[in-house]
């Protein structure tokens, strides 16, 4: 009843673990894979990265602010970790790095059933800006990754751009099998007692409840224009949130910060969606994109 198909990938249900959430060890991924329709790993780079100093993740009003700094033990070591993946749901490996590095990472992960390209890291060369804010660059990276793999690839889109649809179009042209919207919103929280930003990196990314209306808008806009599937992400805590994303046009949803409320969130979202479909006598397909038809 809840099965979804995204490209070649079949998800038993439309909930997916978002990247960077309990995605550092295979045992935590295994744990979530037992319930979720799919899991995305923490983003991995070619070289090991310690990430920023703590504090890297803090609770804020209506959400979570983080600047973890893409910490990971390198693609090589992480691939060893993933060898023990239990395979209970499609495993999507999140890749980060420069235009040159990302395509190189694919071959490390034979156990992956798909790849998510996290293009929200600073663009090597053009200081500060993100890879994911240049549609041509996004297109090129997709092309290069597609050459290395026949598995589905997804581009994780940043909301910190003037026009997210333009970036989504770049991904589509480059052959991406779907886009994931959204990554975190650039944000900052200052502690007034200390008189300085709380995160060691000062600026971080806002996730959780606060960003849901922005994420829903992004999914809605992308669905209007793109032909490839859109996966929604941002502030999903209840089944209602998930249904909002489906109605905006998401074929599946990712849950990140919501795990704060417990790993059982996947179960409760799944059951909630089921009940909703029964109550309204609707199929999942009816719901996907419904807000565009009403």
């Amino acid at each position: 009843m809840l099965e979804v198909r995204i490209g070649d990938m079949v998800l038993e249900n439309p909930t997916v673990l978002a990247s960077g959430i309990m995605g550092t060890t295979v045992s935590s991924l295994n744990r979530i894979a037992r319930v979720a329709g799919g899991v995305v790993t923490k983003s991995v780079t070619s070289e090991p990265r310690e990430g920023f100093k703590n504090p890297t993740v803090v609770n804020v009003n209506c959400g979570i602010l983080n600047a973890v700094g893409l910490s990971n033990p390198s693609a090589k070591l992480f691939a060893q970790e993933l060898e023990r993946y239990n395979g209970e749901a499609p495993l999507i490996v999140s890749l980060a790095g420069s235009e040159e590095e990302i395509p190189e990472l694919v071959s490390f992960f034979p156990m992956a059933q798909g790849f998510e390209l996290n293009l929200s890291c600073p663009h090597v060369g053009s200081m500060g800006a993100e890879l994911g804010s240049d549609p041509e660059l996004v297109e090129n990276i997709c092309r290069r990754v597609k050459k290395r793999t026949s598995k589905p690839i997804f581009v994780k889109l940043s909301p910190n751009v003037t026009d997210i649809v333009e970036i989504g179009r770049g991904a589509e042209r480059g052959g991406a099998d779907g886009v994931v919207a959204i990554n975190t919103l650039r944000a900052m929280v200052i502690d007034v007692e200390a008189g300085k930003p709380i995160l060691s990196n000062r600026i971080g990314g806002l996730s959780g409840k606060a960003i849901k209306p922005v994420a829903v808008r992004c999914v809605y806009e992308l669905f209007e224009t793109l032909k490839i599937p859109v996966i929604g992400c941002g502030g999903i805590i209840t089944w209602r949130d998930a249904v909002e994303f489906l109605m905006a046009g998401a074929s599946a949803v990712q849950i990140g910060s919501g795990v704060f409320y417990g790993t059982s969130i996947f179960k409760s979202v799944i059951e909630g969606i089921k009940d909703f479909l029964v109550r309204k006598n609707l199929s999942l397909e009816d719901v996907i994109g419904m807000a565009h038809r009403n």
């Binding site: 060890t25 890297t56 033990p73 200390a194």
Partner: protein
């Protein structure tokens, strides 16, 4: 939350207890994330409802030794599950700075408690006066006070079967040995053991504190685990740093 250090007690030359004029709604075994001005944010157990006790082992903890009374520190938490109280005879086993959360536990459990507390040399003992009022076996590795040997040596000589619950906190190698001992004695189900892992968020999302093979989060499902859960886990074998890279414990 930003909170002022109300009182500062040097427990020994490398260990300090910082008291706050605020009682954290908490149970023993829970920890807080402490953001030390100019340094990092680190997890530290509560050593009472309103204090933390820290041993200098690196940059941040060293800095904490030098924080003056009145300094404002950022605190998130309390986080984690904490110890559970049980009826009956209780044994509390602490090694080194592991006594910090156990001091809070001992105050909280109040009665029917025996304590085994081991350190390297007598100078390391903290909360000495407070604990001495209880039924405590003090142990030093060099015999400079109390029993000579390790905590394990003493535990092996005791009748552990008489305890309804055993609470443990201490260095990971001590915990590893204790897990072996408890397994041999078939008392793993009766134990509550507090462990440490590298932490970032403290709230169960970043995944950096997860322990194999069940992916349990030390910050949410822990830091206190039943011994059975820990027995065949990574505890005592390896741990991870902030990047997720594994480090095998050197014995």
């Amino acid at each position: 939350m930003y909170i002022r250090i109300a009182e500062k007690v040097m427990e020994n030359p490398e260990t300090v207890t910082l008291y706050f004029s605020y009682e954290f709604p908490s149970v023993p075994g829970q920890f807080v994330m402490v953001d030390v001005p100019g340094k990092e944010e680190i997890p530290v157990s509560l050593s009472s409802e309103s204090s933390i006790t820290v041993k200098a082992v690196g940059d941040t903890t060293q800095k904490m030794l030098n924080l003056g009374k009145g300094t404002i520190v950022g605190i998130r938490g309390p986080y984690g599950n904490g110890f559970k109280a049980v009826e009956g005879n209780k044994l509390v086993v602490g090694g080194g700075i592991g006594i910090a959360p156990l001091r809070y536990l001992v105050r909280w459990l109040e009665r029917d408690i025996d304590v085994v507390y081991g350190v390297k040399t007598v100078k390391e003992f903290i909360f000495f006066e407070e604990l001495r009022a209880k039924n405590v076996v003090f142990i030093t590795e060099n015999g400079s006070f109390g029993e000579k040997g390790t905590v394990i040596d003493i535990l092996e000589s005791m009748d552990l079967g008489k305890y309804d619950q055993i609470y443990v906190c201490g260095p990971e190698m001590m915990i590893a040995s204790i897990l072996n001992l408890f397994e041999r004695e078939k008392i793993l189900p009766l134990t509550q053991i507090s462990v440490e892992r590298y932490m970032k968020c403290g709230i169960g999302i970043c995944g950096s504190c997860c322990i194999d093979p069940f992916g349990l989060r030390v910050c949410v499902e822990g830091p206190v685990f039943n011994g059975e859960i820990l027995k065949n886990s990574e505890i005592g074998k390896y741990h991870r740093n902030g990047s997720g890279r594994k480090y095998v414990w050197k014995n």
